[in-house]
């Protein structure tokens, strides 16, 4: 908020600057007023400041609430929180590629093109403007039970020891911020948008949406999290259940080995290593299942 007030001040100064032309940042945003509505482009222009990121551009756009041609428009909506590439909420398509808006520096973007293009993620339903509904991303984590199942408050004593090597292996996987970049860039992960039917109850709608999500590809993030928790001594107690999901519909087999996930991951998580390990685990699991039943 402090930043927004500051930028307001700068903006008004620039406007009253007389003949001097201050450097401006031009941005083109794909907007959408309501979920399921029509999308449309709108251009904005904001004063340039050193070290700006896309979020500070959006803050200025919201503050002026005026399009490039001077019309008063509703402020552009977007998601963000931590502003340090940790919360994973500000993912959007910046100049056509998925990335975190907070770590997208304006000066670097202006080296690529004269105008910055912002679009909402294309693999999730748009809620409004740049805000998307990433429910399916979290549903995927539920499907693979991406947690250590300790569901009580009893004292179980100290947990098993984890060797430094195992820790080193697991740590990068634990840095996932659920930003959804890997899903957005994945050619095998396609959008599932379930729209509530007329007269459908909330419960029926939620059930139908869940079924649709569960038939779709789980995605690289969930595969990697399964490998993280399967490698954990306590988390691995339900390794079989996770592999059951990974060998079910929308599981590991849907991966097409494009390896975009690992290329776009802002945390450089070795996602393709996790995917290959999941592939190996799935192979062993399927053979075991065949002969053990």
């Amino acid at each position: 908020m402090i930043k927004a007030v500051e930028t307001n001040g700068h903006a008004s100064n620039a406007e009253h600057d007389g003949g001097h032309v201050a450097r401006r940042v031009r941005v083109r945003i794909l907007r959408q007023d309501v979920a399921g509505g029509e999308s449309y482009w709108e251009r904005f222009e904001v004063p340039h400041e050193p070290n700006m990121n896309v979020i500070s551009v959006l803050q200025k756009v919201a503050a002026q609430a005026k399009s490039q041609d001077g019309r008063a428009v509703a402020p552009v909506a977007w998601d963000c929180s931590c502003l340090e590439e940790v919360c994973g909420s500000c993912t959007m398509l910046i100049n056509g590629r998925t990335r975190m808006a907070c770590s997208a520096l304006v000066d670097k973007l202006l080296d690529e093109s004269e105008e910055i293009e912002l679009r909402p993620m294309s693999k999730f339903p748009v809620v409004r403007d740049l805000v998307v509904d990433r429910r399916r991303l979290f549903r995927s984590l539920e499907r693979v039970q991406a947690w250590v199942p300790v569901d009580d408050s009893y004292d179980h004593g100290p947990g098993p020891r984890i060797s430094p090597r195992e820790q080193e292996d697991a740590y990068p996987l634990s840095t996932c911020i659920s930003c959804g970049c890997c899903l957005e860039a994945c050619p095998q992960f396609t959008k599932i948008e379930v729209v509530r039917r007329d007269g459908e109850s909330e419960a029926d709608f939620v059930k139908r949406r869940k079924a649709a999500f569960d038939a779709g590809f789980v995605g690289a993030h969930a595969i990697s999290q399964s490998m993280l928790f399967n490698a954990h001594p306590t988390g691995g107690m339900i390794a079989g259940e996770r592999l059951e999901t990974l060998t079910g519909q929308g599981g590991i087999q849907v991966c097409g080995n494009a390896q975009n996930c690992v290329a776009v991951c802002p945390k450089s998580i070795p996602l393709t290593r996790s995917i290959a390990r999941a592939g190996r685990a799935a192979t062993v699991w399927a053979i075991k299942k065949l002969f053990d039943r």
Partner: protein, 269 residues
């Protein structure tokens, strides 16, 4: 979900996709390797190629179609059918993300589709099943000469070069992704090593495929006549051997030629 066929595919998606992956290696990929290496034997001369073809046809004209359908055509149709389902469910985005892996993902699908169309055309063009459609130009008794005549037109050889290269890329790249799918190579370093091996396999097979096309191109004029003469001699020898082996009372061990002897060479060309 109400559609039983859809729910069957959904329930067995993992098994089907893994069988799809396996079928690309065995038997379809293995057949591609054998096929291209057999064809490349044309570079050692029409007699060598003819003896390889004879070896394949020696399992009998009744058994051969069964082997073809069980180990080549049906697995290929299965691989292609599942492949088209996979392609239909994907959304290539190489324009936005032009990474090497993504280019290969896109090429894998493109080459698969081109190879599929090529193989249908190829079977109609050369396999005896294509005869009712004006094709079926390959004569197993005149292997080199019939193949040369069929493939020598510029358009045909261009299409064959494209088809062979697509099939080879699809196989070599598929070899690499298959290793990831099944979990053979999991670390980035192992993937790089496997990638190098796949490239070597691909280049070698492309050389074999293009080499055999070049070998057929070379069979013109006098060389084509020579090839026909060699094939005719080998055909006669085969017939003679058949008569000796199955002719009953007249067959004696003294005049029986050694099985598998390079017949063309014994005649001195």
């Amino acid at each position: 979900m109400s559609d039983p066929a859809e729910s069957f595919l959904a329930r067995h998606q993992f098994l089907i996709y893994r069988l799809f992956s396996l079928s690309g290696l065995v038997p379809v990929g293995a057949f591609l390797v054998v096929h291209l290496l057999t064809n490349a034997s044309i570079l050692a001369g029409p007699g060598t190629f003819q003896s390889r073809v004879d070896l394949i046809h020696s399992i009998g004209e009744r058994v051969l179609p069964i082997v073809e359908w069980a180990f080549i055509f049906l697995p290929m149709l299965f691989h292609a059918t599942v492949g088209f389902v996979i392609i239909a469910n994907g959304l290539p985005n190489v324009g936005s993300y032009p990474y090497v892996g993504n280019v290969r993902y896109t090429l894998q699908r493109a080459t698969g589709m081109i190879a599929f169309v090529f193989i249908i055309g190829h079977v109609i063009h050369l396999h005896w099943m294509g005869k009712p459609l004006g094709g079926g130009q390959f004569d197993p008794h005149a292997a080199s000469s019939s193949a040369a005549v069929a493939i020598q037109p510029a358009l045909a050889s261009a299409l064959y070069a494209i088809g062979v290269l697509c099939a080879v890329f699809h196989f070599a790249n598929g070899l690499w992704t298959l290793g990831i799918t099944w979990g053979l190579w999991t670390s980035p370093a192992a993937m790089r090593r496997a990638n190098a091996v796949s490239i070597v396999v691909g280049v070698a097979l492309a050389a074999a495929g293009l080499g055999s096309l070049a070998g057929l191109q070379g069979l013109r004029g006098q060389k084509l006549d020579d090839a026909r003469a060699i094939e005719a001699n080998m055909h006669e020898d085969r017939e003679a051997r058949e008569r000796l082996l199955h002719g009953g009372d007249r067959a004696t061990s003294a005049v029986r030629p050694a099985v598998g002897a390079p017949v063309a060479d014994s005649r001195g060309g």
